[in-house]
């Protein structure tokens, strides 16, 4: 009654194809893409050290990690969404909402662990609704999350009529966003851990493989019997949850909830994902590229600060770097395809 899978059953014993023959073509190109980014990143660090002696101090390094961690956490969620060929413009608003709700709930004497969980759940729910609309009604994610960007930001303002929220914040909660383990900021550790988990999920679980399949060809994935809608809804829920987490961490550091926080965060996150080599049309890329790209952008900003260059200048440089990175990726891709 089956379409002959009997050879499969005996496969492990005989081990056909032997060790996985290392592919040269595409895999090599992938390596170069990743390697390139790392080289640029290290070169930038060297330049920074030479130009500004303060750059390579533990204090500055710790600051740098702390500043990049929140964007980084959001960018990891964004990576998953973009891998399915989606986009999430609502991350900034969802983050602000998460930060506000956790502040308000703690102010209402809720246990802070519970308050965090409620915030994360709210973020995940927002994401699931926007992703679900896009998956089940075939609305473009660009539009559903653009609607979310406005509506959730509005909701955030409505919570307190636009005023910051907060009061007595427990010390344990403050440590989460502002604490250090030795010289290492706790948020930095959270960022690293989330990156590693995301990488494991993408490479080591069926869900991760489905993410790539859906992003590479949604119709083929559907006709292969994959739960395409579920996968899309899930990645948006994850993105929403990670955004809310970034908001919670910011509230913890500032000890108040800021309804105006994370304005324009979506663009920083998307920039990092694309710079990290993830294809905007889905199916190719990964979180390690995003991780390095987040650090790279952050070092760039840090360097500009140390050199006393204004934020206007930083914006120009960031934009130019993105264009160069895109061109570089395209060139490498083409060479890989020809090989």
């Amino acid at each position: 009654m089956t379409a002959s899978t009997s050879p499969a059953a005996t496969a492990p014993a005989t081990g056909p194809a032997g060790g996985p023959g290392r592919p040269r073509g595409r895999f090599g190109a992938d390596l170069i893409v990743r390697f390139n980014l790392l080289i640029v990143f290290l070169a930038l660090c060297v330049v920074a050290t030479l130009l500004a002696p303060e750059f390579l101090t533990t204090q500055n390094m710790a600051n740098l990690l702390q500043q990049s961690a929140l964007t980084g956490i959001v960018a990891i969620g964004m990576t998953l969404v973009i891998l399915t060929a989606g986009i999430d413009l609502s991350v900034g608003s969802t983050a602000a909402f998460g930060g506000m709700t956790v502040a308000l709930l703690i102010d209402k004497d809720m246990n802070f662990v519970l308050a965090i969980l409620v915030s994360l759940a709210a973020g995940a729910a927002f994401g699931a609704v926007m992703g679900g609309l896009s998956a089940y009604l075939s609305l473009p994610a660009f539009m559903t999350t653009l609607a979310g960007l406005t509506a959730i930001r509005g909701l955030t303002y409505l919570l307190t009529d636009g005023k910051p929220a907060g009061g007595e914040i427990p010390t344990a909660f403050q440590l989460l966003g502002g604490g250090f383990l030795g010289y290492v900021p706790v948020v930095g550790i959270v960022f690293v851990v989330i990156t590693v988990i995301a990488a494991l999920v993408l490479r080591g679980t069926t869900f991760g493989e489905y993410v790539y399949a859906v992003g590479s060809n949604r119709e083929a994935a559907r006709l292969s019997g994959l739960p395409v809608r579920g996968v899309i809804t899930a990645v948006f829920a994850i993105s929403g949850m990670l955004s809310a987490l970034a908001g919670v961490l910011l509230t913890s550091r500032l000890t108040i909830g800021q309804p105006t926080a994370f304005n324009g965060m979506e663009l920083d996150a998307i920039a990092a994902v694309v710079l990290g080599g993830t294809n905007l049309f889905g199916g190719r890329g990964g979180v390690f590229g995003t991780f390095v790209a987040v650090l790279l952008l952050s070092v760039l900003r840090n360097l500009c600060n140390l050199l006393g260059l204004g934020s206007y200048f930083q914006m120009v440089v960031t934009g130019l770097i993105l264009v160069v990175a895109l061109i570089l990726n395209m060139v490498i891709e083409k060479r890989g395809a020809r090989a």
Binding site: T2, S4, Y210, A220, G225
Partner: protein, 500 residues
């Protein structure tokens, strides 16, 4: 359109084109006379496309000479090709779907006064071109809204607005039903009668026999020979295409499988499209679905697989089949090899291995998909004879036949397939790849799978199916046993809907 008939309109000699690792054209010769329909034949990879791209000016040859009406020409760009009177109509019709017929026809050379398009003049010119190809569709319709046959005619008309002397048609029949093809053939004949030269590329021998005057056969980049079609049988042309050592498609052998049907279709209805009743498939049986384009073959398979909505009353192994989504269909033991392998069958950017295994990963503990995929997929790939450098090669780099086998491998890897639905599985494949694919399908059937096979090529159905159902305008009208029924009887039924 004058010219000395003894002088070839087009003469390509000693054309050489190298790509990294391959010699796509190896001293290729092609000579086309004025007023001739010249067929260009060869398996996939024989060098037809490369030669035509060189003729169009898209590729620059590494050697050789092109003469038009005796004059040597150098075609440095597609614009130069068009200016020289060469029009290439690609399979995927390079029309802009959102523009109107008239806009498409005169794209790039619309009559204008300064920056303003003279719309009435454009309509007149477009009307003249469409009339010449016998089109009866509105010029102001967006191309995407036209049936595919009319799009094909629009593409030909576009070649005429540029006053092309040489018109290259790349497998026009791949997207046309037989009625529509007859219409296109009529146009081709009248263009040839005007003295234009047509280069016609196709895999289908019956078309070549019908429309062609002469044929040039290519193999491995070189010209095997030039044949006068009226004096040459199809067997000789096919033999020239595939060389000596390859096996041809043989008629189906052996008795049809007997026993209880595995798939019993009481009725499948999609309002306005299909109303099918009473098709049964036994385990081990390949049931062919024949019909013209739009007869409902694809709709039937898609509805059975839960891709598009419709009322299905069917039983699988005696239990009612309830399928609303492809995921449910897969769970029930159905597998679909869809019409377009690139758009619906494969994740082109992912590797061969990942494509092969993607259906097989939904099992506990849902971990280590790539290792699991390699373990399950590698033996299937080897078993089906998929030729790839490594399983990590992107599937988009494989040849069409191997890509189609990967789509098949996807289902074999999952296992538990009870009904295999094949929709035009051999589109665009060469003769050898077709035979190989059908061998694999037959092997699956021999393992007890029930197969429904939709194809536009009747010879493939008679060669491979145990029974053939003919669909006509959404209904299944007759069932034939290819061992006993004459092929032209079936063909007659396909076209008219009634058995002679």
């Amino acid at each position: 359109m004058s010219g000395d008939p003894a002088q070839p309109r087009l003469h390509m000699s000693g054309i050489v084109k190298r790509f990294p690792g391959t010699l796509a054209c190896d001293a290729t010769e092609l000579s086309v006379r004025p007023g001739e329909v010249h067929c260009l034949l060869g398996e996939n990879g024989a060098g037809k496309s490369t030669l035509m791209k060189i003729l169009a000016g898209s590729y620059q040859p590494d050697g050789g000479e092109i003469r038009l009406d005796g004059q040597p020409v150098t075609l440095t760009s597609p614009q130069a090709g068009i200016a020289a009177g060469i029009a290439v109509i690609y399979q995927e019709l390079d029309l802009i779907p959102d523009l109107t017929v008239a806009q498409n026809l005169l794209l790039g050379h619309a009559p204008a006064t300064g920056p303003f398009v003279r719309k009435r003049r454009r309509l007149e010119l477009a009307r003249a071109a469409v009339d010449r190809v016998g089109g009866e569709f509105p010029l102001t319709a967006a191309v995407r809204d036209l049936p595919i046959a009319d799009q094909q005619l629009t593409a030909i008309a576009k070649a005429l607005t540029g006053d092309a002397r040489i018109i290259v048609m790349d497998e026009p029949s791949a997207t046309l039903g037989e009625n529509d093809l007859a219409k296109v053939f009529e146009v081709i004949r009248s263009l040839a009668a005007e003295g234009r030269s047509i280069v016609y590329i196709s895999h289908r021998m019956d078309e070549v026999m019908e429309i062609g005057d002469r044929a040039t056969v290519l193999r491995d980049g070189g010209t095997v020979g030039v044949y006068d079609i009226a004096e040459t049988g199809p067997e000789r042309l096919v033999a020239a295409m595939i060389g000596e050592s390859r096996e041809l498609v043989r008629p189906v052998e052996g008795a049809p499988p007997e026993g209880e049907p595995l798939l019993e279709i009481d009725s499948v209805r999609v309002p306005g499209l299909i109303d099918i009743a009473g098709i049964e498939v036994r385990p081990g049986e390949i049931v062919g679905l024949a019909g013209l384009g739009g007869a409902g073959r694809t709709t039937l398979l898609k509805t059975l697989f839960g891709v598009s909505g419709g009322a299905v009353s069917a039983r699988l192994g005696g239990t009612p089949l309830r399928v609303r989504t492809p995921a449910a269909a897969v769970k029930a033991g159905l597998a679909l090899v869809p019409e377009s392998r690139k758009e619906q069958g494969l994740m082109l950017g992912l590797s061969v291995g990942r494509n092969t295994a993607v259906t097989a990963l939904g099992r506990p503990p849902w971990l280590a998909p790539r290792r699991l995929g390699r373990r399950l997929g590698a033996p299937v790939l080897a078993d089906l004879g998929v030729k790839c450098a490594t399983p990590d090669q992107p599937v988009g780099e494989l040849s069409g036949g191997n890509q189609q086998k990967v789509v098949l491998a996807k289902w074999v890897t999952r296992g538990g397939v009870r009904v295999l639905l094949l929709d035009e599985p051999t589109r665009g494949l060469d003769v050898g790849a077709k035979a190989d694919l059908y061998r694999q399908v037959r092997r699956l059937a021999d393992d007890g799978v029930a197969v429904l096979l939709a194809s536009s090529e009747l010879t493939e159905l008679t060669a491979n199916a145990d029974r053939i159902w003919v669909l006509h305008e959404g209904r299944n009208v007759a069932c034939f046993d290819p061992r006993t029924a004459a092929e032209n009887t079936i063909a007659h039924t396909v076209i008219t809907g009634v058995t002679p």
